[in-house]
């Protein structure tokens, strides 16, 4: 029982990060029909920038703030310089652009930072809290709390503000949104900025538990993408549920089956879901018009 609880704790923590990456995916996908493979690099940039500013003597809260701002700038630059000029290109071309951006950011991080793994000091120490025979790190609770706060803030913003309604309008029908006077390019900027910020915050929160390096982004992006798929592409609730579910399944697989094949299990689940119900858990079946 204690063992099961332990796996649930670690699964929830990892799942929270996957959920945030998946949420970033969904936001960009809805606002601009783009699958952004550079999503994982936002997480990496958040963690790495904070670490290196910290090493340079900048107090950590300020370092974290600068890291988020820098990542947002990268996100907006990605939209303006790489995505907007290619508007109207086919899906494969757009996927290749974001993958190119992801490889590029990774390459630059390798030069600007370095190739080793780095960690940050946890916010409230390293003494685990004991719950029912299992242990949970205070930082895990912070990751979970951070994820909840982000999800709630985003939901309130999208659901309760005029700008949020413009985002929903753009997601529903881009052309119609333009016709009623919504600046869809600004919505695109916004979605990349917020996605980058979410990724960066996730990266900063999780670095004390899971050390970061220039290449952590790839696997995170793939799993975040998988989580978004699992929940149903374009569905924000689905993204969060899919992320948490993927984290839990992965933790169980690592605990009960094989830790070596932990990553494999995640992709097996994804293939199984795609074959059995291609629209995901919360998505609606897409009907093609001939």
């Amino acid at each position: 029982m204690a063992e099961l609880l332990q796996f649930i704790f670690s699964g929830l923590t990892v799942g929270a990060v996957y959920a945030l990456v998946a949420l970033g995916f969904t936001l960009i996908y809805n606002a601009s029909d783009i699958v952004n493979f550079a999503q994982g690099e936002f997480v990496m940039l958040g963690g790495m920038t904070t670490v290196f500013l910290g090493l340079a003597g900048v107090p950590l809260p300020i370092a974290a703030l600068i890291a988020v701002i820098a990542t947002v700038a990268v996100g907006v630059a990605l939209h303006r310089l790489a995505i907007e000029p290619a508007r109207g290109a086919g899906p494969v071309v757009l996927i290749m652009i974001t993958i190119g951006a992801s490889i590029f950011l990774r390459g630059v991080a390798q030069i600007v930072f370095d190739k080793s793994f780095h960690s940050l000091p946890p916010l409230f120490g390293t003494d685990p809290i004991r719950v029912g025979g299992a242990a949970i790190l205070p930082q895990s609770l912070i990751v979970l709390a951070g994820a909840v706060v982000i999800v709630v803030l985003l939901w309130v913003f999208i659901d309760r503000t005029l700008f949020g309604k413009a985002v929903i309008a753009t997601a529903t029908n881009r052309l119609a949104a333009r016709l009623v006077g919504i600046d869809t390019r600004r919505i695109g900027d916004f979605s990349f900025a917020v996605s980058a910020a979410i990724g960066a915050v996730a990266g900063i929160l999780v670095t004390p538990i899971a050390p970061t390096s220039y290449e952590v982004g790839t696997l995170l992006a793939l799993k975040g993408f998988a989580a978004a798929m699992l929940g149903g592409m374009g569905n924000a609730v689905g993204a969060v549920v899919g992320g948490v579910l993927l984290g839990l399944l992965e933790a169980f697989a690592a605990g009960y089956l094989s830790s070596q094949y932990k990553d494999a299990v995640a992709f097996l689940i994804i293939l199984a879901v795609l074959f059995a119900m291609p629209q995901g858990l919360f998505g609606r079946a897409k009907v093609d018009r001939v």
């Binding site: 290749m96 990774r106 390459g107 097996l268």
Partner: protein
């Protein structure tokens, strides 16, 4: 004259002449090495181009088949005692079987779902290559014995240039032949509209599966050559980045253009070598090349040039 140019043999003859004459301009063996790499990647690119450019199905996991081919020529001789040339064919057959089994469920998916499924499949294979250390040598990889054909041992970049050149010409000929066949026309019909193709009586699922298997065999062959050429195989050969490189070769060169795959391979193999003085800049360079070409030449180099120069079909 016009009939001669439009004939099917013309481009194959042109390619054969070019690869035969090219070494006369190589100042050193280093050029043989780079050219051999270009041709091997172009071979894999042609296979993937059949799938992406003609059948219109994307695969972000083709490095998995490169991995099967590469590990076949490593594992076959060292664990099973097979000669390298036989291991090459065993690898190709194994890739075909795997592609046949996975292809049917995977190719039912479309768009982003197809992309993520093939991607997941490729990563699964690379995880297996990394973790089954007792067979594959794990993350450090394993040595690959030299290819021996009729008592002649293939060694050095020059020998490998000729082996990859001959394979590339054969691969091009087979691909052009396929495109010009009823199957090729059926594939283009599927690319234009799956529904319309089905209404015309084309067995869409079967044709897609067939070209998926063919493209897997091309990738497997390229993987075997790569491993034999380097004398070493590591899980990187089947990694996510390799799959992306392959897709980039196809898209950069031009989807649906067989010669485009050669051009794409030249860009992706030669440009990073030429532009990067330091090894660390390689990734940043690769990413930048992919982005810049996709933004400004989104139809691919060969089709864009064809339009500019006014070669219309």
């Amino acid at each position: 004259m016009r009939a001669l140019f439009s004939s099917r043999l013309m481009p194959i003859a042109a390619v054969a002449v070019i690869v035969a004459v090219l070494p006369a301009f190589f100042p050193s063996t280093y050029y043989y090495r780079v050219a051999a790499l270009v041709l091997v990647f172009a071979l894999a690119g042609i296979g993937l181009n059949l799938l992406m450019g003609f059948a219109g199905q994307v695969s972000l996991g083709h490095a998995g088949f490169i991995g099967i081919g590469a590990y076949a020529v490593a594992v076959g001789p060292s664990h099973l005692g097979l000669p390298p040339w036989l291991s090459f064919f065993v690898g190709a057959a194994l890739s075909a079987v795997v592609a046949f089994l996975v292809g049917r469920p995977i190719l039912r998916l479309k768009g982003h779902y197809l992309a993520v499924a093939t991607l997941g499949f490729g990563i699964l294979l690379s995880i297996v290559f990394t973790n089954e250390a007792s067979i594959t040598g794990g993350p450090d990889g394993m040595p690959v014995p030299r290819l021996v054909l009729f008592g002649w041992a293939a060694r050095g970049s020059e020998a490998w240039y000729w082996i990859s050149a001959v394979s590339f010409v054969i691969g091009t000929a087979l691909a052009l032949n396929l495109i010009d066949s009823p199957t090729g026309r059926a594939l283009r019909a599927i690319h234009d509209s799956e529904v319309a193709a089905r209404v015309l009586g084309i067995d869409v699922a079967e044709k897609k599966l067939m070209v998926f298997v063919i493209s897997a065999v091309y990738a497997s062959a390229a993987g075997s050559y790569l491993a034999l050429f380097n004398g070493l195989v590591t899980p990187d050969v089947a990694g996510f980045l390799r799959s992306i490189e392959l897709v980039a070769i196809v898209v950069l060169g031009g989807m649906g253009s067989i010669i485009g795959s050669l051009v794409g391979a030249i860009v992706l193999v030669v440009l990073p070598q030429a532009l990067t003085v330091f090894h660390e800049y390689e990734q940043a360079m690769l990413g930048l090349i992919v982005m810049v070409f996709m933004i400004f030449l989104r139809r691919g180099i060969v089709p864009s040039l064809a339009t500019i120069l006014g070669w219309r079909k």
